[in-house]
């Protein structure tokens, strides 16, 4: 019964913006704070989906993972959605299967999509990098975003991805986080921090989306340019 929501993605891949065309009385869930512009007939309602405990779970999984509900009341209207970080947006249609999305990558979804936070932290993670995933299930549309462009990889077999570049993947893939010795600087005894070579190894068949840039690289690049405290 769930119909696809009509949409287009503009200015992809570096400055992607999602334009959702809502039919009369149609509703869409949007990451809170991501609405950029909309017709006046669209009404916003914040919603703590699934009650308090799930809301708390969301606070744990992402920095401010809250969802707002937008409904076109009385007539159809347009809604522009822009993620906080410039990059790409991808659409996926859930048909009862599950999609795992990196927690800050959620953009929007049909109200029929269930969003569940699945705590995936600390398993093999140190160095401040952490992989938190949310799990989307049900039937309906979902959009997710990245920093940089999104590349879709159809996995059949064995695939390795740097953990910080994962955007989303189908739940049919098995995954576990490991340290790939060949990419690690540790054995070289250099005393350089970072570059542990943490990767996520996927197995099975399914689609995987990675991003072409990673926000922490920019932060690390800018860090040495910060002024030094004078005291």
């Amino acid at each position: 019964m769930s119909q696809q929501i009509s949409y287009k993605i503009e200015h992809s891949p570096s400055y992607a913006s999602l334009v959702i065309h809502l039919k009369t009385n149609e509703t869409v869930l949007v990451e809170s704070g991501a609405m950029a512009a909309m017709d006046t007939c669209i009404k916003m309602k914040s919603r703590a989906k699934g009650g308090l405990m799930k809301g708390l779970g969301r606070m744990v999984s992402g920095e401010s993972f809250f969802i707002s509900e937008f409904t076109a009341e009385g007539k159809s209207g347009e809604l522009y959605v822009s993620p906080g970080v410039p990059g790409d947006i991808c659409h996926y249609y859930l048909q009862g299967n599950a999609l795992m999305i990196q927690s800050s990558g959620f953009v929007a979804a049909s109200p029929t999509v269930e969003i569940d936070t699945k705590f995936q932290g600390f398993k093999g993670f140190f160095s401040g990098e952490s992989l938190f995933l949310i799990r989307a299930t049900g039937i309906g549309d979902i959009w997710f975003s990245s920093y940089g462009a999104i590349v879709e990889i159809p996995v059949a077999g064995d695939y390795v991805v740097d953990t910080s570049y994962i955007v989303a993947f189908e739940d049919t893939l098995n995954y576990n986080v490991e340290m790939l010795g060949g990419l690690s600087f540790r054995g070289l005894r250099t005393g350089i921090l970072g570059g542990e070579g943490l990767v996520c190894r996927f197995n099975g068949e399914g689609r995987l989306w990675v991003q072409s840039r990673e926000l922490y690289s920019l932060i690390n690049f800018l860090n040495p340019f910060r002024p030094t405290k004078s005291n």
């Binding site: 462009a149 590349v151 070289l188 250099t190 991003q211 072409s212 030094t228």
Partner: protein
Amino acid sequence: MNIELLHQPDSAIARVVLDANEELVAQAGCMIAMNGSINASTTLRQGKGGGILGGLKRMVAGESLFLSVFRSPISGGEVFLAPKLMGDLLTYEMKGQELVVQATSYLASESGVDIDLGFQGFKSLFSGESIFWLSLSGYGVVLLTSFGGIYKIPVNGEYIVDTGHIVAFEKSLNFDITKAGSSWLSAFLGGEGLVCRFKGQGNVYCQTHNPGAFGSQVGSKLPPQ
């Protein structure tokens, strides 16, 4: 080896497909994703003035000497590579000539390309920027990256390029570091500190933006360390 550049220019990413036992050398840490069957190893590459001490000196200067080597045991193994900052990619074919590359602009190369870290051409450079240079020679494709867009200047005669904007240049060119203005005072007050003056014939590859200028402009507005 087959190299495909996707999502140019701002979010460029390279998809490299390897034949059986072919090797790809890349700046360590630039691998995004790859087939599980590919073997990766990371090594410390030492320059001519090398040795452990030379290596340490370079590490202190912020030079990353780490190179990863990817080898596919089977034909068709793929590796995705991308630079750290927003910008474009360029493939450059080495046919025995020499190419000088700014270290942060080097992304990857075929194993037939030799990488020499000991390029001392700009030794006299005393602008606080920790730019260092690689000297490439041999045969094969090199992947270069830029901050912003990338453009080629075919030099025939003389040309001046700001050092922060150089991605790479062919060694057939003579060059020297000089000031942009007529006096040292105007050179520094004008903000154009040091420039590279090229002479002769050859190509210079430039980037539209200077990462150092971006870093100091944004970084100075961040809370102190």
